[in-house]
């Protein structure tokens, strides 16, 4: 087995293992903290896929910002009091069945489809290539995200503020 394959299996184990903790832990704070190794595992996967800029952004946004936001909200609501209420609804068995069926379907599709391949090579310097695409074909996407960010900022402030 090559080093890359070993790295892949280790990272997949970290991602899925802590993902299971996120999904099943009875304590919401433990779930939120377990999100960090999940995100870091996915970061490693991005590195293996030679997308290093996306990888560092994953750490910066997911592990550094979204996790903090989630922890804040847990501490602001009654989730912060630890294990108290029942965390799971009565659909546990059905939910597991649906998720397993979905996983089977997706894996079957992933394995059986003969994926098309376009020629070309990955750029070695990803931030530069991404920047170039923002200056060219993705210019509108770039400006569009700023509008999306503005809208969500305004919306979230309106929702979260106390009514006077």
């Amino acid at each position: 087995m090559s080093g890359e394959a070993i790295a892949f299996y280790v990272l997949a184990a970290v991602t899925l293992g802590s993902g299971v903790v996120v999904v099943t832990s009875p304590n919401v704070v433990h779930s939120a903290v377990a999100l960090v190794p999940t995100f870091l595992g996915v970061t490693g996967i991005y590195v293996l896929l030679s997308a290093e800029f996306v990888a560092v952004i994953q750490v910066l946004i997911y592990a550094g910002a979204i996790t903090v936001l989630i922890l804040f909200v847990i501490m602001l609501t009654e989730g912060g009091t630890g294990i108290r209420a029942r965390q799971r609804n009565e659909q546990g068995a059905i939910g597991a069945a649906v998720a397993a069926a979905m996983a089977g379907l997706l894996i079957a599709v992933a394995v059986r489809t003969p994926w098309a391949r376009l020629p070309g090579t990955l750029p070695t310097y990803t931030p530069g290539a991404i920047g170039q695409s923002f200056l060219g074909p993705n210019l509108l996407v770039f400006e569009g995200t700023s509008v999306v960010l503005l809208v969500s900022l305004v919306g979230a402030i309106v929702i979260a503020r106390k009514e006077e």
């Binding site: 790295a7 910002a65 936001l69």
Partner: protein, 118 residues
């Protein structure tokens, strides 16, 4: 490039082991003489009342909310900064529009008092 990140991974793993090493040492040599009062949560000398896990001011959330939006804005500036030299006027105008739209968000948050600590 994979080699670079291999080094970072080794750094993280070995670093975590090194940081945990002192904890192993104290587990081996530190004395143990705990009794109930010693294991009590510190609250300036008076008996602890209730759990600390209670609810806090919503202000904390508003700040982290504005933070997340601006943090996401920043990730788009890094790739732009790398190519801005070759991009010329187009790059400048592009970033100007981007920043103006986001400044509107900052102004809105400011006017609505999301940046006030009451």
């Amino acid at each position: 490039m994979l080699l670079d990140w291999g080094y970072v991974a080794v750094f993280a793993i070995v670093g975590a082991i090194l940081a945990a090493l002192p904890l192993l040492v104290i587990w081996l040599i530190a004395p143990r003489s705990a009794y109930p009062q010693k294991l009590e949560t510190y609250e300036s000398g008076v008996p602890t009342i209730g759990q600390a896990w209670s609810q806090f001011n919503v202000r904390y959330y508003l700040f982290s909310l504005v933070f997340v939006v601006f943090d996401v804005e920043i990730i788009y500036l890094y790739p732009w900064a790398v190519v801005a030299r070759s991009g010329g006027a187009l790059a400048f105008v592009e970033i100007l529009i981007f920043l103006v739209i986001l400044t509107l968000g900052l102004v809105y948050a400011w006017r609505k008092g999301a940046l006030e600590w009451v």
